[in-house]
């Protein structure tokens, strides 16, 4: 009986209308402190999407007695009633995380009977509840970065349609992150440190699978080759749209891990309907010439008519820009 007090509300997940408050789902035993309820398990991805330097905490929920099905190169096929929960926040001071954080929004992907639905809840000023924002919201925030410098961001909580812009494969809303290969790493659960896939097997969220997978590398981990790091970064940041099944398939530029044709990966590829997004450059990637490559130009830009990705970013990702610059520079011409 005590456990049930903190159980996720399966009915709220499946009902037609989204509830007003995040706490109505009971995903958290303590919503404000983000302490998950029973059956809500934290996870991390090996490489993650850049979202204006925000930090992300992720959880997965699979209803009792059901299982997600493994797919080699796709996200797990989660059963009806599952939820993927992601909270975006900024530490007050990146040099000392114990000083606290500012919660921005919690995004939900809910597996309903007819498919996935996406919705976001923006945290209130008092940080004790997150409230549904179907039309999105702008939040101005400041934080102190690793160097002790004050940074500011015009953070955009996406509207429901913008969620779909990225989360679409073959015109169907789908999660992006939780592919087996992206989860294939050790995670520090409070009671043990263990591979996330092993943990999911243990709690019977999935059946036994072989974890010898073609796993991407953490793009930040410099022990890996530059090429592998870049591929991984482009896959998670661009490949959900820029793939032959994604929202940007009309461009012919495909940056997902499975694409190997040089032209389609951008090498000497001419722009199609790029407009001023080309920045006056001739090719997506001009080997040896990072400053003449459209791909880098659009990563650097913060002009809404030029920048990539189109949404979810208002700042430039300096560290990634440096990496891509070096990578294009070192390419054989």
């Amino acid at each position: 009986m005590i456990n049930s007090l903190y159980a996720v509300d399966n009915i709220v997940i499946l009902q037609d209308k989204f509830p007003k408050n995040l706490s109505d789902f009971s995903f958290f035993e303590d919503t404000q402190a983000q302490i998950p309820s029973k059956g809500v398990i934290p996870y991390e991805l090996i490489s993650s999407l850049f979202s204006d330097y925000s930090y992300k905490q992720r959880w997965v929920y699979v209803p009792k007695g059901k299982k997600a099905i493994f797919n080699q190169d796709e996200v797990f096929d989660f059963p009806v009633g599952s939820a993927l929960i992601k909270t975006f926040y900024y530490p007050l001071d990146e040099r000392d995380l114990s000083l606290g954080k500012k919660l921005m929004e919690t995004r939900l992907l809910l597996r309903k009977t007819h498919g996935w639905e996406a919705v976001s809840y923006a945290w209130n000023e008092t940080q004790d509840e997150a409230i549904i924002k179907k039309a999105g919201k702008t939040i101005l925030n400041e934080w102190i970065d690793f160097k002790g410098e004050i940074q500011s961001v015009r953070y955009r909580v996406p509207n429901k349609n913008q969620c779909k812009e990225c989360h679409t494969t073959n015109d169907t809303l789908t999660p992006i992150g939780p592919k087996a290969r992206n989860l294939n790493k050790v995670f520090d659960y409070q009671d043990e440190s263990v591979n996330q896939l092993t943990k999911w097997m243990k709690v019977a969220y999935i059946d036994e699978i072989d974890i010898e997978l073609n796993t991407p590398v953490n793009w930040e981990d410099k022990r890996h080759s530059l090429d592998a790091r870049v591929k991984s970064y482009l896959d998670i940041n661009c490949g959900h749209c820029h793939s032959s099944t994604g929202g940007a398939n009309s461009t012919g530029l495909y940056l997902d891990l499975t694409e190997n044709r040089p032209t389609h990966r951008g090498i000497y590829k001419k722009p199609v309907a790029t407009g001023r997004g080309s920045g006056g450059h001739e090719f997506s990637i001009s080997p040896g010439n990072p400053e003449e490559s459209i791909l880098l130009y659009r990563m650097i830009s913060t002009d809404p008519g030029v920048m990539m990705p189109e949404s979810g970013r208002s700042l430039s990702h300096k560290e990634a820009i440096e990496m891509i610059r070096e990578w294009i520079n070192k390419m054989e011409t």
Binding site: K134, A135, G136, T138, R154, R156, N159, K160, N161, Q162, K164, E165, D171, S244, G247, N249, S250, T251, G252, T263, H264, K269, K270, P271, V272, A273, T274, G275, R276, G277, S278, G279, G280, H281, E282, F283, I294, D303, P304, G305, V306, M307, E310, S311, S314
Partner: protein, 404 residues
């Protein structure tokens, strides 16, 4: 039968009764109000923006099937994106069967209206405009349906796009009519598309008036069945202001109509004049490509019963290669109709198959120039041929496009 009609009428009526009609007026919260209304629409609903000017910092998007999003007139309901901070377009539509009508989108930072993957989209009496005149920093496209089916653009106005005012890409079943495209790089562009009718439009004061293009390395290519008729492609005299790298950046100022690659294109009953470089060009895609599925050559092109006027009086030899080459070959006597003559090697030697032949008939006094590529490669031969009568032939009209 009467009973059946009665039941059908009732069904329609109840559909209409359940649908809601939402009205909004300009307010300080227009961004959130309109976006929320667009999200909350259900199939059959109508959202009307009352007369006035609405200001946005972010793009708008619509993802509900079979709704109408309308204003109160092309000059009365203004959606102003001059202060846009985020969003790659003014309005993005990703659903099927949507009608947009009677409003204007001004100064979007990227494209004004983009429609992706729609099964049915109608854009009626809309205006997209960049109000600062032709500038490289203007958004690329005014109207930009892509990967869509059953596309109608009717009575629209497109001004100032740094790529194309009206651009239909990788789509099928398309009608563009009664519209005006001015001061864009390309006025109207049909690219990698199947079955398009472009008629009763005015394309003037662009760099190039009407473009029918096909490009390699794309999911849909091999554009075919495009009819361009009863248009005015006149006085296209704006310097090319496209950012470099884009294919339209190669279009010389003063181009009436260009057909590049594509098959089965019929151009007839148009007025084409006042274009300082060339009134009409038929050309091969000019870049190397290793795309084996791509055909860079135009074929089965028919040009007939057009009215040509003055052209070629001010060739833009500084943009792209076409104008400079043509100017040199023609020794300054620029033709109304130019075909680059480039064909697959076997056809250069043995001629085009009959059904793929270029036909040019009944175009009044229009002058013509083509290059004989074999002679071009050999010394001592003049490769220029100007005899238009060789291209006379029977017209095989292409079928009319009918939208579902």
């Amino acid at each position: 039968m009467q009973n059946l009609f009665f039941i059908f009428s009732c069904a329609l009526l109840s559909f209409a009764l359940n649908a809601k009609h939402v009205f909004l007026s300009p307010s300080v919260n227009s961004q959130e109000e309109i976006q929320e209304a667009l999200i909350d629409l259900e199939p059959g609903d109508i959202l009307t923006l009352e007369q006035g000017e609405y200001f946005f910092e972010d793009g708008l998007s619509l993802d509900v099937d079979n709704v109408i999003f309308e204003g109160s007139g092309i000059n009365n309901t203004i959606l102003n994106f001059g202060d846009q901070i985020s969003g790659a377009q003014g309005l993005l539509v990703t659903s099927d069967g949507v009608t947009l009508r009677d409003f204007a989108i001004l100064d979007a930072k990227g494209d004004a209206i983009k429609v992706i993957g729609a099964d049915g989209i109608s854009m009626i009496r809309l205006r997209t405009e960049w109000t600062g005149g032709p500038k490289e920093t203007n958004g690329a496209y005014g109207f930009y349906p892509v990967e869509s089916k059953d596309v109608l653009i009717d009575g629209c106005v497109a001004i100032g796009a740094s790529d194309a005012g009206i651009y239909v890409g990788q789509s099928r079943n398309i009608i563009v009519k009664n519209s005006v495209a001015q001061y864009n790089v390309a006025g109207i562009e049909i690219e990698n598309s199947y079955y398009a009718d472009v008629f009763d439009n005015l394309a003037s004061h662009n760099t190039g008036g009407i473009l029918v293009f096909d490009l390699p390395d794309l999911p849909q290519q091999g554009g075919h069945h495009v009819r361009v008729f009863r248009n005015k492609a006149i006085n296209n005299d704006t310097d090319n202001f496209a950012p470099e790298g884009n294919i339209v950046g190669e279009v010389p100022r003063g181009t009436g109509i260009i057909i590049q690659a594509n098959s089965d294109v019929e151009v007839f009953d148009n007025d084409i004049y006042g274009n300082g470089t060339v009134n009409l060009s038929i050309v091969t895609y000019g870049y190397d490509t290793d795309d084996e599925n791509y055909n860079p050559h135009p074929k089965s092109i028919q040009i007939h019963n057009n009215r040509f006027g003055d052209g070629g009086f001010d060739p833009d030899v500084g943009t792209g290669e076409l104008a400079a080459i043509l100017f040199e070959l023609s020794k300054g006597d620029m033709p109304d109709i130019f075909w680059d003559g480039i064909l697959p090697m076997n056809q250069m030697l043995f001629g085009q198959p009959d059904e793929e032949r270029l036909i040019i008939s009944n175009n009044g006094e229009a002058s013509f120039l083509t290059i004989n590529p074999i002679k071009y490669m050999l010394p001592f031969f003049d490769p220029v041929e100007r005899d238009i009568s060789k291209y006379d032939g029977e017209i095989k009209p292409l079928p009319e496009v009918i939208l579902n």
